[in-house]
């Protein structure tokens, strides 16, 4: 069986509350189906490439490990890195020295996923930080007060699908008042054998009251340049009272890959959720962020940049719900679109009836490099309260010929001049990233 719905056995089917969530997810997905071009939320990003019959899901790595632990020898390669594997099959990578750490110009607690599967190598963590697989958090009931609490299954079909297949992913908890010294880095690596792979990833991040943390997600690939795969990611994020989470994402998927992500964040009083996503690559790449500013003085910054050529569609969709008085949100999105590519920005600010003295701003700007490049922008303001400050703006333009000539007349080659201008254009939003070394890395990746 292949396609987005597959009859596969997953770990944890015997845990009623958890299996119940999966079943609700599947019901909700079956009710809605894969969005079509007629689905309002997907009218610009045509989802047809996301609904292919030949997508294949990974077998459960957790079941394999679980079974492996109970048998003396199990037949067939478990396809899962683990010290307990004794299959000796050709190509089995189990038991190898696992060195998955990637070189990054900044230090951090690295966690790795390979073709959608968690690589069980854990960094040494300081006190007050807990990281475990989602399955472990389910078995220990750690995840129970949070998992599925934020995702609206009826309006997010891919998140419903993700819920139906919840298994891979991590649970990260930063304890009350702990200020994490280094970022937690989730490296999601796709390798050559990922052709037709469809994987779901579900992460749960809880930043307890007064705690501070930085989370970096990096989706990248090697040897999978031409692989067509589909990553469906949901992050559920809880920023508790007075807590702070800086969430930076670099979506660097292969150019035929599809990447759909939903970041669902809830921010309590005096909490701060600061998000930045840089999108490159991918056939369809959608990074959707919904923030619930639940209590007074909750603040969200949701910024993004995208840069693309070829035939890509990169989509930034936001929905900021101001649910309490004196909540603040700011969004800045900048895109550079070349080739026959399409940039999509759908930005919504919702201000609930009693959410007075609230401020919500939004600005999208795009640079079109070719005549065939396209952008579609849909800002939406829903304001039900008086005494609020709200603004939105959108602009698009081309590289200024006068500027290009000026630079050329100083000896700078035309292509080099364009790159300087593109870098400068994106710098404006990448500079919003507070972590200086991450910022430099993102600038480097944007220009690569």
């Amino acid at each position: 069986m292949a396609g987005l719905i597959q009859d596969i056995k997953l770990f944890g089917e015997d845990i009623p509350w958890f299996q119940g969530l999966r079943e609700k997810g599947m019901e909700a997905f079956r009710r809605q189906g894969v969005p079509t071009a007629k689905t309002e939320a997907w009218k610009y990003t045509k989802p047809r490439d996301l609904n292919a019959d030949d997508f294949v899901m990974n077998d459960s790595a957790f079941l394999a490990e679980f079974e492996g632990a109970h048998e003396e020898e199990h037949s067939g390669c478990c396809h899962h890195h683990g010290e307990n594997c004794h299959c000796h099959e050709e190509g089995c990578r189990c038991g190898e020295e696992i060195d998955v750490r990637v070189d990054l110009p900044f230090d951090g607690y690295q966690l790795h996923f390979l073709n959608g599967r968690f690589v069980p190598v854990y960094p040494v963590l300081p006190r007050g930080v807990e990281i475990m697989t989602l399955m472990e958090a389910v078995v220990t009931q750690e995840a129970k007060p949070y998992l599925g609490h934020l995702v609206d299954l009826e309006h997010y079909p891919f998140a419903a699908l993700n819920t139906a297949y919840m298994e891979e992913g991590v649970y990260i908890r930063i304890d009350r008042n702990v200020k994490l010294d280094k970022p937690v880095i989730l490296v999601n690596h796709t390798e050559a054998d990922a052709e037709n792979l469809f994987y779901n990833l579900r992460n749960l991040i809880v930043v307890e009251s007064g705690a501070k943390a930085e989370l970096i997600e990096w989706y990248n690939y090697t040897g999978a340049e031409k692989s067509r795969y589909f990553a469906n990611v949901v992050n559920e994020i809880f920023v508790e009272r007075g807590a702070e989470l800086r969430h930076y994402k670099m979506q660097d998927e292969a150019f035929k890959a599809n990447h759909v992500a939903l970041n669902m964040a809830r921010v309590r009083s005096d909490g701060f959720y600061d998000a930045f996503c840089l999108q490159r690559g991918a056939n369809i790449g959608r990074n959707e962020t919904k923030v619930l500013l639940k209590e007074e003085q909750a603040v969200a910054e949701v910024n993004a940049a995208y840069i693309m050529h070829g035939w890509a569609t990169l989509d930034t969709t936001t929905d900021i719900e101001h649910l309490a008085p004196e909540t603040f949100s700011h969004q800045l999105v900048r895109g550079v679109v070349g080739g026959d590519a399409k940039g999509v920005f759908q930005g919504k600010i919702h201000i609930a009836k009693h959410a007075v003295k609230t401020e919500g701003t939004q600005l999208h700007k795009a640079l079109l490099l070719t005549d065939t490049a396209e952008i579609d922008v849909k800002p939406e303001l829903e304001i039900f309260a008086d005494d609020v400050k709200c603004s939105h703006g959108a602009a698009s333009g081309e590289l200024d010929e006068e500027i290009l000539f000026y630079m050329q007349s100083r000896g700078i080659g035309r292509e080099e001049a364009k790159q300087i201008l593109i870098d400068a254009y994106l710098d404006d939003v990448i500079n919003k990233v507070a972590d200086v070394s991450v910022r430099a890395w993102l600038k480097d990746r944007a220009g690569a």
Partner: protein, 253 residues
Amino acid sequence: MTKTPLLEIEDLCARVGEKEIIKNFNLTVNEGEVHAIMGPNGAGKSTLSYVLTGKPGYEVTSGKIRFKGKDLLAMAPEERAREGIFLCMQYPVEIPGVPTTTFLKHAVNAVRKHRGEPELDTLNFVKMVREDGKALGIDNEMIKRPVNVGFSGGEKKRLETLQMSILKPDFSILDEADSGLDIDALKVVADGVNALRDGHRSMLVITHYQRLLNYIVPDFVHVFADGHIVRSGDKNLALELEEKGYAEFVKEK
């Protein structure tokens, strides 16, 4: 001593859109010479500077331009710059988001690379900009700002002069270099320009007023009207023009 021609313009005709602006223009500038081109507004002086630097939209319909013996018209704007042509613009362009240092470094290294010189590292680049900038009153703070953004007229012209100073072009075109400058700023710019006069480098000073030529003294003065040179002389011609105006050169319409 025979002079080496640097720039040779022969029977040049050029237009912008449908409008013929340069008509059978001839001029030879030898190494080390400073030529002034004076003329009434709208005569096509700026057009000439854009034709020489290859700005898109300025179409050469006939004639030849040789620079160091090479066919200038076959070169892209950046190639002309790397070969040693520099245009000090009347209205320098603002480049939002690009720090002046970044811009200067790219320009200097593009030109150096073309000349077969090693690219400058940040340290040596900063040193050079600091030294050349000092004489022009350009400080560190100014070059950290985006190129020309929020610069006063005087600051823009000083930055143009700094670029000329660090790129060391063989042939500089100064297009209304004095416009918008008070007398003190004018002296600073003129000093910067004069510092480049070494007997080999040449210049074309385009100006409406004689004032600038008191500070950048030309070897030759040409009157430009109706698309070509109508009279040539030495620096005294400029004084004569100042007194009499351009009326006798402008055709009755």
